[in-house]
Symmetry: C2
């Protein structure tokens, strides 16, 4: 692999460090004008500003950034990337006032995605996701978490996770797998709740861990899905087998998910639309990162998570897409950045940290990605933009000009 | 120019006719499965479904649509495309709670765009807009209205309109020019309101008309900008010289703009966020098209125009971007379509009509563009989508695969 020298960088904007940034630090990023970056063997070798040292010019492919903005590659720390089918038919129903529960009663909603996912092969699921990942990479997402959760039985959950593994070998976006067998109670267990909990904790979690199919164990803690007590049991089972807890908390009802997140040592709590003060305090105490999903709030017509209160309380905030076929059919992390500014009133600097370093920390990758510093993996974006304000301001545009992943310039 | 034969069209979705669709007709579009389209000399020669007649296969370049969706090219009937500078710096101010009036008092807001536009040459303005038009075309916009209104003096207004004319000769998106000298009272006239009104009506409008620099005359009818009475005077002056009236009405305060629209025979009234019942009735009576701008409501954090009430009252609804450097830095008409579904609760079929035929009617082009029918200009989109629901559902994605403008396949 050729060395790369990015020169004539108008502005390099990046958080620094290898841990999530909380509180005021979330917005304290490094801004370097007239910068250069040397990449060797896929790793950032040197970052500086001013005259490029003569020695660096040798044996390096030059990339003229032409005075534009460079940031770390974007990290999408919450997606449901792997699924069969789509649910565009529900849009029309929704616009005609049909409620989610009515759609569900008609066999729609998540259960229709479960059916389509079960019916698809591992290869079909991977092929469908690969197409989406190509669009995501073009929009700047260089690393992406991906959850199971539409199989809801052992083989179909493993199939989703194996599709993620396959994709890590066949395309460029780095994927981080999360086991979300506790996404819903499958239809066949609707009168046998304890049976599914047992299956999750005693069979699926141990198998997922043993076969290294996932790094994280997630649960949808919500009214009508899993209670806080059930969620605790599932996450503790995951921990016992080495899977780090994540939790879908406070999306619709505040039933204790965010409080549990801090108590159980979850690395992230996700959604948090209706997160109460007690939940924020618990996350701050437990060091849980808030992974916020503004496009879901927007698509659902819901309110927006109390991001500022979280930052004020010392909770690190990440922002992700929640890409899924039901509540957020958008994989566009740049749009999530626009929304995080406009709807959470985060500053562009706070948003950058949220979609780079804090996203990386939310999937335990902050030692390797999420910032532009010597020693980190060379995941870089050249933006067709002069500064970070412009990126957040140009609603709905794809401003990514060039994507560099592990030191490789991606050709589209 | 080669003939084109689009075959294997999974679904052709298009409104039909050469006039704006009102009421229930707005959502009554033609859906043709297994369709083909023959294009000759840049014009649609035949549309059908089933077996392609043998004669058509000769002397035509084949385009295999692979079972996907085809629609008319999108028509963006309201943009402020031509301007100097950007205003991303105001995003940070806005997030820190600085009000628009405070920004204006600091020399920001529209006045900073006026300064930057005055300082730019015609060629610079055209070059900057050409870059944006390229992105718009890639997202499916094949025709676009463009307003002056950042010059606010004779030479700088004409310069903007000449930049539009230049762009019509140098790039592919068809532009339709609107004179909006009445966009704001220029600083140098702030104590001489009547002087600017006289300049507009007695010098600028006659010159614009004589030199065929614009087809429409627009005015920003709003508290603190132009009153309804002043707006009437400006629009009547335009009419006298052959410029068809358009009006920015009811964006912030309902000061009579929509009522005036119907009374003065405006072809469109635009924004209409706070449009009162009387305004809707006036537009319905006068045959004025409501040109709604959902991305502006969204970017401003405002409410959304009463689109359903308009449709119910028999007003034809168009949807456009309002692309401009202040209140809507988005030129993405697909995002406006998403918003029109989610926020106006229009159906995907109503939205399609809003961004094709009704947009075309709003710039008096419905005889030539806005539908896929024999005799219309061949402005076509092939979507990476199976149906219209999918287009409206995939929030923030660019689903346009292939753009055909006047029978030419655009290469990006």
């Amino acid at each position: 692999m050729a060395n790369l020298l990015l020169k004539n960088i108008g502005l390099l904007a990046t958080p620094t460090g290898s841990a999530a940034k909380r509180g005021r630090e979330q917005g304290e990023i490094t801004l370097l004008k007239g910068a250069y970056i040397l990449v060797k063997g896929g790793v950032i070798d040197a970052v500086g500003s001013g005259e490029v040292p003569a020695g660096m010019l040798e044996n390096a492919e030059m990339v003229d950034v032409k005075g534009r903005l460079v940031t770390p590659g974007l990290v999408d720390a919450h997606t449901h990337l792997i699924f069969g089918g789509w649910r565009q038919n529900e849009l029309g129903l929704k616009l005609h006032g049909v409620t989610y529960l009515e759609i569900l009663a008609q066999g729609g909603g998540i259960l229709s995605t479960v059916r389509a996912t079960r019916a698809a092969s591992e290869q079909e699921l991977a092929g469908k996701a690969a197409k989406e990942l190509s669009a995501m990479l073009r929009m700047g997402t260089t690393t992406c978490e991906a959850k199971s959760g539409y199989g809801l039985d052992p083989e179909d959950e493993y199939k989703q996770l194996r599709a993620i593994r396959r994709l890590n070998e066949t395309q460029k976006v780095e994927l981080v797998p999360t086991f979300l067998g506790a996404h819903a109670l499958p239809e066949e267990y609707k009168n046998h709740r304890e049976g599914y909990l047992g299956l999750l904790c005693e069979e699926m979690i141990p198998t997922v861990a043993r076969e290294h199919l996932a790094e994280f164990c997630d649960v949808f803690c919500e009214t009508g899905v899993f209670t806080a007590e059930e969620s605790r049991r599932i996450l503790e089972a995951g921990k016992k087998h080495g899977l780090t807890p994540k939790i879908h908390a406070d999306e619709i009802d505040p039933i204790g998910g965010s409080q549990l997140a801090g108590a159980v040592g979850a690395i992230t709590a996700e959604h948090l639309i209706v997160c109460p003060k007690e939940g924020i305090a618990s996350m701050a105490k437990g060091g849980t990162i808030a992974c916020l999903l503004p496009a879901t709030s927007f698509y659902l017509g819901a309110t927006f998570a109390p991001a500022r209160a979280m930052i004020d309380a010392g909770v690190a905030v990440a922002v992700a897409t929640d890409f899924n076929p039901g509540s957020c059919p958008s994989s566009n992390l740049q749009l999530a950045m626009n929304l995080a500014c406009l709807k959470y009133c985060l500053t562009p600097e706070e948003v950058l940290t949220a979609v780079t370093l804090n996203g990386a920390a939310g999937i335990r990758r902050a030692d390797r990605i999420g910032t532009v510093e010597a020693g980190k993996q060379a995941d870089l974006l050249i933006w067709d933009a002069p500064d970070l304000d412009y990126v957040c301001y140009r609603l709905g545009a794809n401003l990514v000009d060039t994507v560099i992943k592990k030191g490789e310039i991606i050709q589209f």
